[in-house]
Assembly symmetry: C2
Homo-oligomer: 599 residues x 2
């Protein structure tokens, strides 16, 4: 498989210069000229290049992109997604890889862009299913993947390999290169895949940060050169596409934090994501500057800091980090508590501190609590309740809306325009976002004159085909349904299970147990009734007694013509009649489970 190199024959294919006026939203705009494209590789192979966003095109999370040419396949990222409200009890959702069933040997590698769970979280579950293909990541990314793998000792050994950013990889027919990008965790890469049909670029999560923290600046030269050589299609991060302007540098956070720290006289408690390593670094630096020691609270935060420190991605003085026991003996203005739980997670450190359930810390007047992360959609109400509790306990609460303590990790509209201009891809495929975000990316591309038909807003699993320099979005779909992880089960929780959970969470359940003599149909003893989540049983004695009487009458009312007991008939009648009775009495519809025991 080494006969293909990255030097495909190039053939100049001049493209018509676009002079259309974009009339989206009915607004007239100045006529911009889209520059003619650089040389574009022409298709030479006998196959079509097939690309699909397996996960991350209709949701935020579980990112995975598939690139296929002939028999060869590579995957980019292998993430997880957190469940929606109508998926109770589910731990998370991972990409569907059933298209690869039976083709595990064709899968040349999984390439990981960076160490966040929405890009690596599927690995422990999917690596064994895929027969442990080589997984490529940068040093820090691999550190985090390895650490997480410790939680899954039974899943087999993954084949993790380190990326050298300056060293191309040959993966079957594909030559893969990398370029450094910035995000809010160090050591992120964008991926360049040279194929017989042209070059694909995948940004992963990225922002342009001219003053990054503990990270190298985006490799603009490599990106620009790539643009000169010709890019067939660009898959780019859509997360912040609806936001106008440029993303703020992570360094700017440092100025705001500095201002807060300079003025605070009590303890400072910073809630943020365990995975925002650059932010953790800044909180450590500013604490050191103002003579504060730092306590880390939260398991995942501790372990991320440990990994990053070991691998040299976090700089911290030897004496800065202390234990909670040491912290409680220090004056308040010498302490920073850096903790998880800024999303209002019920068991995380910040919530336990707020509700006085933390072993060492509780809120006292004079505390400043900084929420240094954006709120994940859907968590607004929970975060609001957490803030209310903190305020009630006497803390001063600073959120990024009130002061600028958050710079996002994702490119905004103007950043995307710069990327598009630098790379100059023929096709743009917005990735990493739900439909709304992908459409916003498309609007951005159209604002800089990409023709609408060259921007593919795809659904999960939809195949995009490229051949002879032309691409199109086909109607073919590979499987992309949700695969739900619940405890040890992967994909075993199906719709019916979720529906039952939801039903029971609405009005509870009502189990009726009757014992009947098989031969005669005679009811033995009193029917048992167990109910949970329906009514408070102690207060509902009368209702339950009435229901029990009704059950007795139903069971006695057996068909005198038939000698044998028809249990199914009795069950159906119990379900229907008792269900109706309870609804009429309570306007609730508990799940009714009739059990008929024959003795």
């Amino acid at each position: 498989m080494q006969q293909h190199s990255q030097n495909f024959p190039f053939k100049r294919k001049p493209r018509t210069i676009q002079r259309t006026v974009n009339r989206a939203n009915g607004a007239s705009r100045p006529v911009l000229t889209k520059p003619a494209l650089a040389p574009m590789p022409m298709g030479v192979g006998k196959h079509k290049l097939r690309v699909a966003i397996v996960g991350g095109a209709e949701e935020v999370g579980r990112n995975m992109t598939m690139v296929e040419y002939g028999k060869d396949i590579i995957l980019i990222d292998c993430g997880l997604q957190f469940p929606e409200e109508d998926q109770p009890g589910i731990d998370y959702i991972i990409p569907n890889v059933s298209y690869l069933k039976g083709r595990e040997k064709d899968l040349k590698a999984i390439i990981i862009t960076h160490g966040h769970y929405d890009h690596i979280g599927g690995i422990p579950h999917l690596s064994p299913i895929l027969h442990h293909p080589p997984i490529y990541g940068t040093k820090l990314t691999n550190g985090i993947i390895n650490k997480r793998q410790e939680d899954f000792p039974d899943k087999g050994r993954i084949d993790l390999r380190e990326i050298n950013v300056d060293q191309p990889l040959q993966l079957g027919i594909f030559t893969v290169e990398f370029f450094r990008v910035n995000h809010n965790i160090p050591d992120c890469v964008g991926i360049i895949v040279h194929t017989p049909e042209g070059t694909l670029v995948h940004t992963g999560d990225f922002k342009f940060d001219l003053m990054p923290i503990m990270d190298e600046v985006t490799d603009f030269a490599k990106i620009a050169n790539l643009g000169k050589q010709g890019v067939l299609a660009l898959m780019s991060d859509s997360t912040n596409a609806p936001s106008p302007g440029h993303q703020i540098s992570e360094s700017v956070i440092g100025f705001t934090l500095d201002d807060i720290f300079r003025k605070a006289h009590g303890r400072i408690i910073v809630g943020t994501f365990a995975s925002l390593l650059n932010r953790l670094q800044q909180v450590i630096w500013v604490s050191e500057k103002y003579g504060r020691k730092v306590v880390i609270e939260g398991f995942s935060m501790k372990s991320n800091i440990e990994i990053a420190k070991q691998l040299g991605y976090l700089k911290v003085n030897a004496k800065t980090i202390i234990t909670p026991q040491e912290a409680v003996r220090l004056p308040d203005d010498k302490v920073t508590v850096m903790c998880t739980g800024a999303q209002g997670e019920s068991n995380a450190a910040l919530m336990r501190i707020a509700t006085r359930e933390h072993r060492f810390f509780r809120i006292q007047k004079g505390d400043t609590v900084i929420f240094s992360s954006s709120v994940i959609p859907g968590n607004e109400r929970t975060v609001q309740r957490l803030k209310d509790t903190l305020l009630k306990e006497g803390a001063r609460v600073i959120h990024y809306e009130m002061m600028d303590v958050h710079a996002g990790g994702h490119a905004k509209a103007e950043d995307l325009k710069l990327l598009f201009r630098l790379l100059n891809p023929k096709y743009i495929i917005p990735v990493e976002g739900n439909r709304f975000l992908l459409e916003a990316s498309k609007q951005v591309a159209m604002e800089v004159q990409w023709p609408e038909e060259h921007v593919f807003v795809t659904t999960n699993g939809q195949i995009m085909e490229f051949s002879g320099g032309e691409g199109h979005l086909t109607k073919e779909k590979i499987p992309s349904d949700y695969v739900m992880v619940d405890g040890l089960g992967v994909g075993d929780v199906q719709e019916v299970v979720l529906r039952d959970r939801q039903l029971m969470s609405e009005d509870g359940m009502f189990v009726i147990i009757v014992t009947i003599k098989t031969q005669t149909g005679e009811l033995i003893g009193t029917p048992d009734i167990i109910s949970r989540g329906f009514v408070y049983m102690k207060d509902a004695k009368h209702l339950i007694d009435e229901a029990r009487d009704k059950v007795k009458r139903i069971c006695d009312n057996k068909n005198p013509d038939s000698g044998a007991v028809n249990t199914q008939l009795i069950k159906n009648k119990l379900r229907d009649d008792i269900g109706q009775f309870l609804f009429q009495k309570t306007q609730r519809r508990p799940m009714i489970l009739p059990v008929v025991i024959e003795v």
Copy 2:
């Protein structure tokens, strides 16, 4: 009880002029002068005036304020609140009125500020509990209350009386007056309660709107005069206190809608709240202007429009509103669909249209969908999914974030400052908001130089006492716990029921039924296992068989020394051992319900 009139002896009580510099957030501000207060009524009574926010001080919703002097009590508003995520199956939450138990005859009236459910929704449930006190509302408000009452035919007849805004009411010792305010439904009033200890003012929900739609302008003269006479305490709407600047006039929405309607060539679908009557009016007007007929989809919207039309609060041409059957026969550019469901509610019209489940309408290319309401915190993700579906179906989606199609119904920071300056109350009590919003109101008051100790940020049920012109926030609390309405039950769903619902929604449940001979302890037949929401039973046959074997072994393992069966012991053992077994196999913890039948 008529001996007290509203003309209390006034005594000038000059107050020190404040010249403090507000240093909140460490910012230095220009030194503002708080004007000396107007004459302040002095306490003459033998009782203290007691005020409590019964509901709506730690949440958004279920608004109720209690005013008590001696034996006399009045309530302001009687709302409901929608449940949180950790309250599955609950319909809504209403105020706790147990403080009034046994004192129903002391309750002189419930006064309603306006016809929104967070102000009237508790009436059907609480009016009978309170022995049907007089309930006062304006004409439109009463129309909505009466309409809702039709859903509760068994709750008894409420004693609803109409407010004449210019006519004071004598309610026990209290003289109550009204002043017109604006909101996003017509016919809203603020409430003035003259008490022996001074005058209280309650704004209800309000905004200042100089160009209101189908409504009178706020009565500034009455407010200013009241301020001159002296106000003891002001309870004011905090909903939008964190937003800087002034609220936009509802009329401005009309300009934006006009622009969208003028440019749209296909159908226009407007999703909004059924209760935003002013918005519905504007959509009707702009539709009429552009020759579109309007279909109303959504039961509550239809009924609100019907009430408002009948009472003269909505103007619509005789032929504007058409049926869906008529609409589908018209050209697309002649149709507006105005519907409920802009919050992503699963059964509302907009969702059914998006998911192709609506009887008459489904999305087609060329449709413009306008979300004309803000997103209630917590609904962000659901709304996002709805928008994604609409986009996928081919609609153009306009939300208020993208274009200004939403003007809120609540005063922003600068509006509050104007109110404070006009009314000049001695004390300010922010109401109608969670802690975060109340604190934001307090910040606003402090920015215009109210001393911190004159702004009461109260918790639900906390008694504020006023006597001799001085007020303070006591530590006394009257009951204010959540009262949950679930179907026909009011307050019968308690924590234990909710906890069970949550447990079952996480990992489902697992019922084990064994039949045992009482005398010998011998197991009869095979144990029955019923499980829902735990695993997909068809795929888990092996697991269930293993569990059943384990159940058999547990039941056989009876104590040979004891003749009689100890069912409790068996039940406990089943619960513990099978629970542990299932957790070990699946990492899930279903609720285990062992049933032992003795025969």
